[in-house]
């Protein structure tokens, strides 16, 4: 990096990332799956697929539906549970020389805590706490929609891990800054936003919802304006770093998020369309910085706020 004209090195919650480009949970497996298509170790970090305490079979087929500029999914967090992850997947993950975040989901505050503790092991750089899951106690509303719940989950996780903790927020809220401030107060080291927008699609031939779960999460370029707006709003209200995502398909989109205030960005749906997109985005950011004569990431992040 030293003789390069621009330096993409990114400090995220004390971790040194090679660059600000990460892959998003649920869209890159554990990173390994992308190896045939690119040198995964060149990425800033990988966020693994959502892990729960126990094995989850997920929702029946009818898990995906394309929409204009977007993708609806209701995978239902299919995964084999934390223990399987630790014994079967993590050893493979360790072979890839980049940061790995484990993305965790629980049904209760306690479950989040147990997961955090279980995953406080070598080979995991940090945790990303997905608080978009329905919260039994708050009557099915996600933890991510009620500031107090978001705060409790954060506190519990922080208590039980020594690793940096990103809390990943749901965009399906009236005031994203209230949730962001709550998790900051709860001790989050950083915030990831956004998760998917709740949406649906109907098959007019069968006259039924296209997805087996009726509703699904909307991702992809369609949601970029919403994600970008939320990053911009939250940047003005919290001090902890923001990891921006939602509809980033190329370097230009990534740069928008960085300018809006994201310290790092994640690629989600983009991986599904082009499994080598990560490398292209890194290159594109580098070229942009060279062209604009911006030497390092700190000089770029948040610049749209003037």
């Amino acid at each position: 990096m030293t003789d390069k004209r621009v330096d993409l090195t990114t400090d995220l919650m004390g971790l040194t990332l090679k660059n600000p480009v990460m892959t998003a949970s649920g869209t890159c497996g554990s990173g390994i799956e992308l190896l045939p298509y690119m040198d995964v170790s060149k990425l800033g970090a990988i966020v693994g697929k959502g892990t729960t305490l126990n094995n989850k079979v997920g929702n029946p087929p009818g898990r995906l539906m394309q929409t204009p500029g977007g993708l609806l999914n209701c995978i239902g967090l299919q995964n084999q549970g934390a223990d399987y992850f630790l014994t079967e997947i993590l050893p493979e993950v360790r072979k890839v020389d980049t940061h790995f975040f484990a993305n965790i989901s629980g049904n209760t505050v306690e479950e989040y805590g147990i997961l955090a503790e279980k995953l406080d092991v070598d080979g995991i750089s940090g945790l990303e706490v997905n608080i978009s899951c329905p919260n039994v106690k708050s009557g099915g509303l996600a933890f991510g929609t009620v500031p107090e719940d978001a705060r409790s989950v954060t506190e519990e996780v922080k208590k039980r891990t020594g690793k940096p903790v990103l809390v990943k927020l749901s965009p399906n809220v009236t005031d994203i800054t209230a949730i962001a401030q709550a998790v900051e107060e709860g001790g989050a080291d950083g915030i990831s936003l956004i998760n998917t927008l709740l949406g649906m699609s109907i098959d007019i031939e069968t006259m039924k919802a296209s997805l087996s779960n009726t509703f699904g999460g909307l991702s992809g370029p369609a949601v970029k304006p919403v994600g970008l707006r939320m990053v911009y709003q939250v940047y003005q209200k919290v001090k902890i770093p923001i990891v921006g995502l939602g509809g980033i398909m190329n370097a230009e989109d990534a740069i928008e998020y960085l300018l809006a205030g994201a310290t790092a960005i994640q690629l989600g749906t983009a991986n599904l369309v082009n499994p080598a997109v990560g490398i292209e985005v890194i290159k594109g950011i580098e070229e942009y910085m060279e062209r604009k004569n911006i030497r390092n990431m700190q000089a770029l992040v948040g610049k749209a706020h003037g």
């Binding site: 890159c28 697929k49 087929p61 539906m65 500029g69 299919q78 370029p221």
Partner: protein, 262 residues
């Protein structure tokens, strides 16, 4: 190993009112491809549709692939508008395709509609290994016919069915099994087509204990196993129902594994 690469279209012609055959130069993919696998094709660089389209490898040809596709929506229409010389972003070969035992003597291939596409490479491969191939091709009506001559090259016997009786046997692709064709004569049955056809065929083969491989379809996003979107309900070795990825563990499954919903 799969590749993400750019192919070059060398041919793209209609086979009938709805079906096209395209040839694509893509040596990397071609050298690894085997029957029953598929590729992810990017029909537009402008973002609409957003996702790649999964298309079966119909045949492997020198330095490239042949695909056969039905124009059913935006993506396949865009494919049909492309010309020789155009570039095409591809990922492949993907998935777990057909396989066969060299000691098999006689096998039956059953294809319904566009499900006939992947049977080309299979028939060609079986024929090359001196296994006797019999084939049933099911269509809705006479005008929908395609590939029957091509498949006849590699098939000792070939039956065509049409739902409206305008050509061949009147009925669906499994109708011949009610009389004309005796399922017990075969060492293995291979099939690709609409779900009701696969379901009916699985029932017949399972009850007679004839090994049967089904190529199933599911809505896909990534095609490479990362999104978990394309699952099929499968009865695993431990007799548990699990969801397996059509794009990695499939698209070809044994008829004994596949759990069809009622």
């Amino acid at each position: 190993m799969p590749y993400a690469t750019q192919g070059i279209i060398t041919k793209n012609n209609p086979l009938n009112h709805q079906i096209y055959r395209m040839e694509i130069e893509c040596p990397d993919i071609a050298k690894e491809a085997s029957p029953g696998q598929f590729i992810q094709v990017k029909s537009s660089d402008d973002g609409a549709p957003l996702l790649n389209r999964p298309i079966s490898i119909a045949r492997v040809i020198p330095g490239g692939l042949q695909i056969i596709y039905a124009v059913v929506g935006t993506g396949t229409r865009q494919l049909s508008e492309k010309s020789a010389g155009d570039k095409l972003s591809l990922i492949g070969p993907l998935g777990h395709g057909f396989s066969w035992q060299p000691e098999n003597k006689k096998v039956l291939l059953v294809g319904g509609g566009i499900g006939i596409a992947p049977l080309h490479a299979l028939a060609e491969g079986l024929h090359g290994d001196h296994i006797e191939v019999h084939t049933i091709l099911g269509f809705n009506t006479k005008e929908d016919l395609f590939s029957q001559e091509q498949l006849a090259q590699w098939s000792k016997k070939l039956w065509v069915t049409t739902m409206d009786g305008t050509c061949g046997i009147h009925g669906h692709a499994c109708t011949p099994l009610e009389g004309t064709v005796s399922i017990e004569d075969y060492d293995h049955v291979y099939a690709c087509g609409p779900e009701p056809m696969l379901k009916a065929l699985a029932k017949i083969c399972n009850s007679r204990h004839i090994p049967c491989s089904l190529s199933v379809e599911e809505y896909m996003a990534c095609g490479i196993g990362v999104c978990l979107g394309c699952v099929q309900k499968i009865l695993n070795e431990d007799h548990e129902e699990t969801y397996q990825r059509v794009c990695v563990e499939g698209p070809v499954f044994s008829s004994k594994e596949v759990v069809f919903d009622d």
